[in-house]
């Protein structure tokens, strides 16, 4: 009998809410590990870039020589970015313009709803189930181009997008109760990798 191994999901742990993602990945059938160095990338099947401050993460990616290795990783394996992570995955970043990994065909505007007092929880739907979308100083996806596919929208803007093996959300599924979105990503990782054990 062939049994699928639990995929190993790396969580970029330079700064941000990586602990919350670890708990969510566990609940979604994946094995979470923290990623802080290049060599940590060698042993994972997929990567989550968490919420946090995108400028801080960007500085550290450069400082720790992680920027190119992450881009390379994204060329062969799935990456899921939430909030700051979505900003890092985008092709183009506005307000202010900043560097990014350019792994998804997205144009993302930072802090587009305003400041913390404009943060909000929206009650949306994903795959026919209720979805609690927690937006914290969230960005807005101004354009989802190429072969990207919008999975969830809020106020007419895409908030959960997939493109090929990658995913991005402007809200924080790791801060809500349900595990549906993490399960979706873990399944994506399982089906894109061929890692199976007898």
């Amino acid at each position: 009998m062939i049994k699928k191994a639990r995929p190993i999901i790396g969580i970029l742990a330079l700064q941000g809410d990586f602990e919350a993602h670890k708990r969510a990945v566990e609940g979604a059938g994946g094995d979470p590990v923290e990623v802080r160095t290049k060599s940590d990338l060698d042993h994972i099947d997929g990567l989550i870039i968490p919420g946090g401050e995108s400028t801080t993460m960007l500085k550290m990616l450069a400082e720790e020589d992680l920027f190119e290795p992450l881009r390379q990783f994204g060329r062969v394996k799935p990456v899921f970015g939430t909030c700051a992570g979505a900003i890092l995955l985008a092709k183009e970043v506005l307000n202010p313009p900043q560097n990014s990994l350019q792994l998804m065909d997205l144009v993302v505007e930072r802090n587009a709803y305003g400041r913390q007092i404009d943060s909000r929880i929206a009650h949306l739907e994903f795959g026919g189930e209720p979805l609690e979308a927690v937006f914290i100083r969230a960005p807005v996806i101004r354009k989802a181009g190429g072969d990207s596919h919008v999975l969830v929208s809020y106020n007419g803007d895409p908030v959960l997008v997939e493109q090929g093996r990658h995913m991005a959300s402007t809200f924080h599924p790791e801060l809500a109760g349900g595990a549906a979105i993490h399960r979706f990503f873990v399944e994506k990782v399982s089906s894109s990798g061929k890692r199976k054990i007898a």
């Binding site: 742990a13 330079l14 700064q15 941000g16 809410d17 990586f18 602990e19 919350a20 802080r36 919420g51 946090g52 401050e53 400028t55 801080t56 500085k59 550290m60 400082e63 909030c83 700051a84 307000n95 202010p96 930072r110 802090n111 305003g114 400041r115 913390q116 007092i117 943060s119 909000r120 929880i121 927690v134 914290i136 100083r137 924080h172 801060l175």
Partner: protein, 295 residues
Amino acid sequence: MNFLNEQFRLKVGLAEMLKGGVIMDVVNAEQAVIAEKAGACAVMALERVPADIRKEGGVARMSNISVIREIMRSVSIPVMAKVRIGHFTEARILEVLGVDYIDESEVLTPADEEHHVAKHDFKVPFVCGARNLGEALRRVAEGAAMIRTKGEAGSGNIVEAVRHIRTIVKEMKQLTVLGKEELVHEAKNLQAPLELVEYVAEHGKLPTPNFSAGGIATPADAALVMQLGAEAVFVGSGIFKSSDPEKRAKAIVKAATFYKDPVKLLEASEELGDAMPGLDIAKLPEGELMQTRGW
């Protein structure tokens, strides 16, 4: 329960985003830009850093609004600002201004010696200082969405920050092994609401993130308090009172991420220039301690 409603979760949510990061004290936009470039996850606007407040004396109040506004315009990371303990009007002003977090801080001269701000009434989140679990839970009961250990601000001496984080972590651990009736007794001892004491007993942690502040001057200091259980650090005078603020800021950011990795901490500690001068807490007169402000 107030501490589980949507508004409170959003306030805690922003604190979650700051974890593993460094929040830096700045007194003007120029310093804020240096902090952001060095990798700060947020900046704290105040009129003077604690070391100067300590030296110059006088009443320390909320910062000049035009300075805070300029800082908010200059950086894209969250901007926090301090209000005096109990000064709910300063807090209302900062809420309208749109700062991302308010620090009801013992570093400023208290406005009220008996009451802290009723923080659930605000849409903007608050962080408060604490020296022990009881104090932390009283602040959470009032609506604080982030706790930071007080340490002794402006001292450049880590000893008080260590004492406070160790105390809170130990007190939390102790609650996890107690029975229901013992928790009622502990709530009485801690002078904190039973529902929050029960939360800590069940989860082994506060209902909010727990950061550290007050005396962090080196990358090693930052890593020390994080190994002891702090989830992020505030650095006040430690950066802009050192001989090379930019370099020190970067080094402390690195230390907050790699706090468990001595090789990376060695890298972060190289060629830093001089740290801020430190004070011996034991030689400070009682009246000059900032940590005893608030209860």
